[in-house]
């Protein structure tokens, strides 16, 4: 096994009854890579991601995440990954600090480490003034950035982001991508789904899913050349329309 490959997927399939949500997808992702996982609504992105993070059992195929098999060692995978769902999943009725403490706590961080982490995190996000405010009353952009930081609290090898910038203003989106780059530079692999094609351009490599299958996988530059398109938006339209 190549140790630089943090995610190795081969023929991974998920069926719901007769319906094939994810149809034998195959790809590898290298350490520190920003991997864009694109596709129309209902193409099977979220289902595929849920298999990789160990909360959905695959029907067939092979997948290794952070060196562990998704079939047999899902709980080991969970120690090594972070996840941010498309639905905001921190506790609205806890404060910023309390959310950080709680998630740090259940990842098994020491009290000292949690304290250090929350200080750094709150400072980096500029949330000092609202550290003791209930998260529910924060603007969406702040919540999303907090949510991303919390998903990195245990220094995971890979972080999975499911449409992290949905509904967020352009300035916050830019800041968000700066955070993603920073994490990638520190060696964290980033697996991200998005509907914004300008964001797809920021990725090292991009895959495009159509009806449960990966129809294209390459760097944004090569994909544009291959499909003779001016930008990723055109690439996506050509593929997704079929």
């Amino acid at each position: 096994m190549n140790h630089n490959k943090v995610i190795q997927v081969e023929g991974l399939t998920k069926m719901f009854g007769d319906f094939t949500a994810v149809n034998a997808i195959t790809f590898d992702i290298e350490k520190g890579e920003i991997f864009g996982f694109l596709g129309a609504n209902g193409a099977g992105k979220t289902t595929a991601m849920k298999m990789l993070i160990g909360i959905s059992n695959p029907t067939s195929g092979k997948a290794n995440v952070a060196g562990f098999n998704v079939f047999t060692n899902a709980e080991d995978i969970k120690k090594n990954i972070g996840y941010m769902s498309q639905k905001f999943a921190l506790y609205d009725d806890l404060t910023v600090k309390e959310n950080i403490t709680f998630f740090g706590g259940i990842y098994g961080l020491s009290i000292k480490r949690i304290k250090e982490k929350s200080e750094i995190l709150i400072q980096e996000l500029g949330l000092e003034k609202v550290a003791n405010t209930l998260v529910g009353s924060l603007p969406l952009g702040w919540k999303q950035k907090l949510s991303f930081s919390v998903s990195l609290i245990h220094d995971p090898k890979i972080v999975f982001l499911d449409e992290p910038t949905g509904g967020v203003d352009p300035i916050t989106r830019r800041q968000f991508w700066e955070m993603i780059y920073k994490a990638a530079n520190q060696g964290t692999t980033v697996f991200v789904t998005t509907h914004y094609m300008d964001e797809a351009e920021y990725c090292d490599r991009v895959s495009i899913m159509v009806n449960g299958k990966i129809e294209a996988l390459d760097t944004p530059k090569k994909l544009k050349e291959k499909f003779k398109a001016a930008n990723m938006n055109d690439v996506f339209l050509k593929l997704a329309r079929g």
């Binding site: 969970k78 769902s85 921190l90 009725d93 806890l94 259940i106 990842y107």
Partner: protein
């Protein structure tokens, strides 16, 4: 262990921050205890009583006066005819009608025998039964007095020996209904609150999406479940405490038995209920569904618990079903320990069965909670 503490801490913060839920948890059950214990009584009082006096003699008036003197009957009307009496009963204006036949007094003196007509509204069968007993008692009493009046001196020897029973009501001498109901209602509120709260809690996290976030962490199932349920266990014990204080202060219910035993049993019992709650929340997707299912089971459990109706009078198949009803055991234990002072050994069968339920329900709950679907 540390991980569990983080969850417990979070749960308590959320519970006490939820300003809508707090009164529901602590105030409503206590209102329930105070109101239900006073209202849910099987004592039949203020019976609306009417009569048709076709005799109009001193004897018939004495009989009516007996009813008038009774605290159970409100003597309403002297109906001139049977027709008026029955239409009045149809309208619900009268529950019991006594018909005194013509020549009642004359026949009694001549024949030493006579009969009276009693009509009872039996829409509520239980109440009708009780009313019948009251009527019989009053007529018997009237009979006794009459016998003495009618007896000739020479009849003394042939006076029948009457046997009188003097009942002693043990464990609740005055047959105070509240003494009987309060421990039962206390059971009810501990059960309902802990079941609903635990049943809805995990479903709520499913609804808002945080459960998925928990499921991608390496937390162990047992850690999560213990951390989740422990706060509700504490709340259940807290409710019992407040309930017992109210029972003592407001209703002056005797507490003959050991408080330690009561708490010991309750702590096992709450585990059963939390297990059921968790089991429900594993099979539902919304709080609404969870609420419906929890409600469905609570109603069945309560009606079949012996809280309101004695289990002995249920059909045999229903009696067998009650063996699987945890509330039944809780009601039994509370009444036995509070009123009778039963010891650990006396309630050991209930303890064992409850423990078994706790083991099974929590086993099922942990088994059915899946981090990976």
């Amino acid at each position: 262990m540390k991980i569990i503490l983080y969850i417990i801490q979070k749960e308590f913060k959320q519970i006490f921050r939820n300003k809508g839920m707090l009164p529901i948890i602590f105030v409503l059950p206590l209102l329930q205890l105070v109101i239900l214990s006073n209202a849910a009584t099987f004592e039949v009082k203020n019976i609306k009583f009417g009569y048709i006096d076709n005799d109009h003699t001193s004897t018939s008036r004495t009989l009516v006066e007996k009813f008038n003197a009774s605290t159970y009957f409100d003597v309403l009307t002297d109906f001139p005819s049977e027709g008026l009496a029955s239409s009045s009963m149809l309208n619900g204006e009268v529950d019991v009608v006594l018909e005194i036949p013509q020549y009642f007094e004359r026949d009694l003196q001549k024949e030493k025998y006579n009969s009276l007509g009693i009509t009872i509204n039996a829409i509520d069968g239980a109440a009708a039964g009780v009313e019948n007993v009251y009527v019989t008692q009053i007529v018997q009493n009237f009979n006794q007095n009459l016998k003495v009046d009618l007896l000739q001196v020479s009849d003394k020897q042939i006076q029948p020996i009457t046997i009188e029973t003097i009942p002693l009501f043990w464990y609740n001498e005055t047959l105070n209904y509240k003494t009987f109901m309060v421990p039962g209602i206390l059971v009810l509120l501990v059960t309902m609150i802990t079941l609903f709260l635990s049943g809805m809690n995990i479903v709520r996290e499913k609804e808002i999406g945080t459960l998925e976030q928990i499921n991608v962490t390496p937390i162990k199932k047992s850690q999560f479940i213990i951390g989740k349920l422990f706060p509700f266990w504490v709340i259940g014990i807290g409710l019992l405490t407040i309930g017992l204080i109210i029972a003592k202060l407001i209703f002056d219910v005797p507490m003959v038995g050991s408080l330690v035993l009561m708490y010991f049993y309750t702590s096992i019992y709450i585990l059963v209920i939390l297990g059921i709650g968790l089991f429900i929340s594993n099979f539902t997707d919304t709080q609404q569904q969870a609420m419906f299912i929890a409600w469905f089971f609570t109603v069945i459990f309560i009606l079949m618990s012996g809280l309101f109706t004695p289990i002995e009078s249920m059909p045999e198949w229903a009696q067998i079903l009650t063996e699987f009803n945890p509330i039944k055991y809780f009601v039994e234990v509370m009444r036995m320990v509070m009123l009778k002072g039963s010891s650990f050994i006396d309630v050991l069968p209930q303890i064992i069965k409850t423990f078994l339920f706790a083991f099974i329900m929590n086993g099922l709950a942990v088994w059915s909670y899946k981090k990976t679907t």
